[in-house]
């Protein structure tokens, strides 16, 4: 049933965009981490479905990585970090929720307009996947620029990266997808270990990057 294959892929990719929106309006760090775990879970399902319909068993590795590493280990590790650092408090956003959501909608519309127009020649599944993936990437960027808190910036980056994995698996038969997803997992592990080892809170007394900015620029 080709329609079922297409519709399910469409549903899961669309679901990822939806969860990205949910990430946008979280105002507590623990809730943000829970939603991120959901984001990674939806990604794992989407990737597993792509592995199924493309007959590409190696993609199951990427799906398993998304499920085990991003949906379980990383959220747990980050939760421990925010407990250690004592920062369950609200996330300070640069822009209010209303304008952020409007900007998010505009970005989704933009990615649809751009990607659907330029991928006319591509296969329908890849086409929809790329459009949704770009939306997830742009929403991830939006999260990164509207949050001041280092942990939520990392969550924004990780959701952006999920969008990239979605794009890479949607492009049928793309080589090196598994290697790239492993490389990204290493990158994310580095970031999380970085927060932990460098003990940004101890060094700067806050993980708010505005405080980091005080050290910026020239030493006077």
């Amino acid at each position: 049933m080709p329609n079922l294959a297409f519709d399910t892929a469409h549903l899961l990719a669309g679901g990822l965009v939806l969860v990205s929106f949910v990430l946008l309006y979280q105002d507590r760090l623990t809730a943000l981490l829970n939603v991120y775990a959901l984001h990674a879970l939806v990604l794992a399902l989407a990737v597993a479905w792509q592995a199924n319909i493309q007959n590409a068993p190696h993609l199951y590795v990427t799906a398993a990585l998304a499920l085990g590493f991003k949906a379980v280990i990383i959220p747990l590790a980050l939760r421990r970090i925010i407990e250690r650092l004592g920062i369950h408090r609200e996330i300070e956003a640069v822009v209010g929720i209303g304008p952020t959501m409007l900007a998010g909608m505009a970005l989704v519309a933009l990615s649809m307009v751009v990607m659907l127009r330029v991928t006319v020649a591509a296969a329908p599944i890849a086409r929809e996947d790329l459009a949704f993936a770009l939306a997830v990437v742009l929403l991830g960027l939006l999260i990164m620029v509207t949050r001041r808190n280092a942990v939520s910036q990392v969550v924004g980056f990780m959701s952006l990266e999920n969008g990239l994995i979605l794009a890479a698996t949607g492009a049928k038969g793309m080589p090196l997808v598994v290697e790239i997803s492993v490389a990204f997992s290493i990158l994310i592990a580095f970031i999380v270990i970085g927060i932990f080892l460098f003990r940004i809170r101890e060094r700067f007394d806050t993980v708010d990057v505005v405080a980091l900015d005080q050290f910026r620029g020239e030493r006077r």
Partner: protein, 484 residues
Amino acid sequence: MIGLAPFAHVELVILIPLAAAALLALLPGYRLTARLNVAAGLLTFIAALALLFAPHRPPGPYLLVDDLNVVFIALNTFVGFTTSVFSASYVGHELETGRLTPAYLRFYHAMYQLLMCAMNVALVANNIGLMWVAVECATLTTVVMVGIYRTHEALEAAWKYFILGSVGIALALFGTILVYVAAQAVIGEGLEAMVWTRLIAEASKFDPALLNVAFIFLLLGYGTKVGLAPLHAWLPDAHAEGPTPISAVLSGLLLNVALYAVLRFKMLMAANAAAVAPGPLMVTMGLVSLIFAAFMLYRRRDIKRLFAYSSIEHMGIITFAFGMGGPLANFAGLLHMTMHSLTKSGIFFAVGHVTQAKGTQRIADIGGLTETHPWLGWSLVAGVVAISGLPPLGIFMSEFLVVSSTFARAPLLAIPLVLGLLIAFAALFLRLNGLAFGEPRGHDHPVKASYGPLFAHLALVLAAGLYLPPQLVAWFQHVSQLLG
């Protein structure tokens, strides 16, 4: 060059640094590891020279050596080698003053060779996926090295570099995926559709709209790593807070590697007649970087930051030249890139010893260098004279070529270009005056400087300004033709 023939394997420029990194991670002791680091740098450089003179082998699915990247590899390994010589004396001083501990030093040396390995992989990659992985790996190694002093400022610089660099490589990956989607429709699924030599052969049949969007992402993504404004924010901090050998390698090499990636994709765009011309985009970003950095030079209070902004300025000029395209501008771009790598890493060698001698990076606390440290002071003067584009040094010639080719083809663009050059020139000399001349200021620690790499770079830049060997000119002209 028959003696070098056994070294002419492309794998060597990757495997030597990789093996050295593994060895350096295990071995203790400063003297041994610093020497091993230098030896590995020298061996890699010899392997690169052998590649330069040997006939190229047919490209494989992952690795490629052609006339374009062999220039980059030779430059990369040469500066990598000279920087390892400088690094040996630099880290010796850092160990004595206790800024680095032996454990961190071992880590530093291993990371240095890993960085060389990653950059060489990115340069010889024939696969756009592999190229992306290598650039990511190079970013990661430099991030940890920027943060190695673990001060407030170093950690903040590393964090900022990390976040901005990650966003950059994420955008580059999206662009890479789009190129694959465009290629897949023509070449078919699988590895072949990511092999650059296949891509360039079939590029004329790709969907132009898809290529356009892909190039925007690639330019923004790799452009972040080139340090083009407005994506440059990581660059001054990363240069200022890390160890100085890393500043030299960042400015002299890593920026080039990222620019090389942009150039490869630019060639792909140029091969497709229906796609948008990549030139104007690069010209705009180059000019914006040049003028922005030129004004930013005036307010610098930190000596390493000053030269970091100068790197943004020069990467702007190089991007501008490659964006203009055509044989003359490409030639000027290649020459300028080579000269900038040599000069800027040379300046950082001098600056590294100056900051060690004075115990500070604040420009206000450094003065009268030509009196207190004549060799260092005059080398710094020579370096700044070279970097600001005065004759008879190499950068004067390449800047002259950029300006004259712009005047010939787009006189209106030449006005902001010349303006930016003059503003930067004045700013650098204003700062140099206080640094090198006048009353000696600041502390005076004894420094065991290694002048060899510094003088070698300055001599090469001077020699290139006075006389370019015809073989080199012919080679660069040939590569300029390839770039289109």
